[in-house]
Symmetry: C2
Subunit: 239 residues, 2 copies
DNA sequence: AAAACTTAGCGTAAAAAATACGCTAAGTTT
DNA sequence: AAACTTAGCGTATTTTTTACGCTAAGTTTT
């Protein structure tokens, strides 16, 4: 990797959907072998940018290294620049030790991305943590996640983001559960189906779901090409 | 001012509404007294950030210095980080000369802000330029403006941003003209009125507009406090 | 094997919001 | 005085959203 720019970093809020809950991927901060720094604080994946890289590329690289996945949906949603954001002091100390740089102020560009947990292949030591009950994270990472969630809530209403979080084959019910988890409100199943079914880019499969202890539902897949074609006529996706 | 951080800058896309058109505030680049650099290229207001400043504060300061205004609506909408964005070479040369720094890569955080042209007090040598017919600007500033306009179009549908662009006292027709200018489509006057009039935070005044050569319309003002109170009940402003 | 239970999946009726368009009044310019 | 422009209110129609009834298909319990 080229030399690092110690003033600008990229942080990624990686969302996933599992067991009916929206989750975030967190990394356990490497322990610093020193006095009271033993705590297991968690952090978002991220890194300082290298001098010659576009930020989007930085973020994509960070994600590929971490998840082994390419073609991940990702969106830049905010910048965090408070000069005092690298606190408390022990967190800053940790950063200086692990990076080997005398950083003291870093402006970070934050991305959120959406991945299918089942199909990812996470290598590093990471934790999928439910977003609604996060512990205290390093630096201002709690705040970054809150802002990411606000952006996701806003954008999932008008763009077909849910298909990035669902498996390739999914049921209408799973789709509804996902919306309910993200928006934090119950939806009427009958009306939800009525709104979803006419969408031409939702392709019904002949298969049905397996291993559920009730009437199995039909599986669907999302046809991206059809969606792109359709969105020019009407103006896109809307819930 | 504290010492500058030569890696990060702030640029402001300042929108105003005048003569039925949406305009952007541009600055004429100081000429470099040298060979073929004589051209009068235009640029967005902006500057490198100082080491100890939050970016929002940087942007607010930039705006106050330029317009003499405080309490301006402003919103961070994007980051531009292409390593090659400081091109063509003569533009970069100009930046190095005027800043006195050997910058070669700058990540810029972009804000758009909305001001009432009539009530501002612009001091520097600036130009209000219609957004729909911009010349070629310095660096990637054309692209930044396009992205700003996209953000504004999106956000003006769900937030009461129009009142930041209109004078303190305005008519329904002016409001409609503004929406038409920003959204780029004609709206039906009867239906527009029907939608706007019931909004409780729009206070009718006893005054009417003056100096128009047709039936004068009633003036209104926007009551921000009432809006804040009302938005908690229903969920905000929507066009 | 029957009964009880859960979820899938289709349908109808009422309420609310968006759209299309008619019309008069108040002022201006010709 | 006639012609014209914009303000400002109204009504009818269509579309979208919301609320809720119901049967069928499968699973689990008795």
């Amino acid at each position: 990797m080229a030399n690092l720019n110690p003033h600008v970093s990229v942080d990624c809020v990686i969302f996933g959907f599992q067991a009916g809950k929206l989750k975030v991927l967190l990394i356990e901060r490497e322990k610093v072998l020193w006095g009271r720094l033993g705590g297991h604080k968690l952090k978002l994946p991220g890194s300082l940018i290298s001098e010659s890289e576009d930020l989007d590329i930085s973020a994509i690289r960070t994600l590929r290294e971490l998840t082994g996945l390419d073609n991940i949906y990702m969106k830049q949603f905010g910048v965090f620049s408070n000069p005092a954001r690298l606190s408390p002091p022990e967190d800053l100390e940790w950063l200086q030790k692990t990076s080997g740089l005398m950083v003291d102020r870093v402006v970070t560009i934050a991305y959120y991305s959406l991945i299918k947990i089942g199909e990812s292949n996470i290598t590093e030591k990471t934790i999928w943590h439910p977003v609604d009950e996060l512990p205290e994270l390093i630096f201002d990472h709690n705040r970054i996640i809150i802002k990411a969630l606000e952006a996701l809530r806003r954008e999932i209403r008008t763009e077909p983001l849910c298909f990035e979080l669902l498996p390739k084959k999914f049921t209408i019910r799973q789709m509804q559960d996902l919306y309910e988890a993200i928006l934090g409100e119950k939806l009427d199943n009958r009306n939800f189906r009525k709104k979803i079914r006419p969408m031409e880019f939702l392709i019904p499969l002949t298969e049905k779901e397996m291993e559920v202890n009730h009437k199995p539902a039909r599986l669907f897949r999302f046809d991206k090409k059809l969606y792109e074609k359709h969105r020019k006529v009407v103006s896109g996706f809307d819930l």
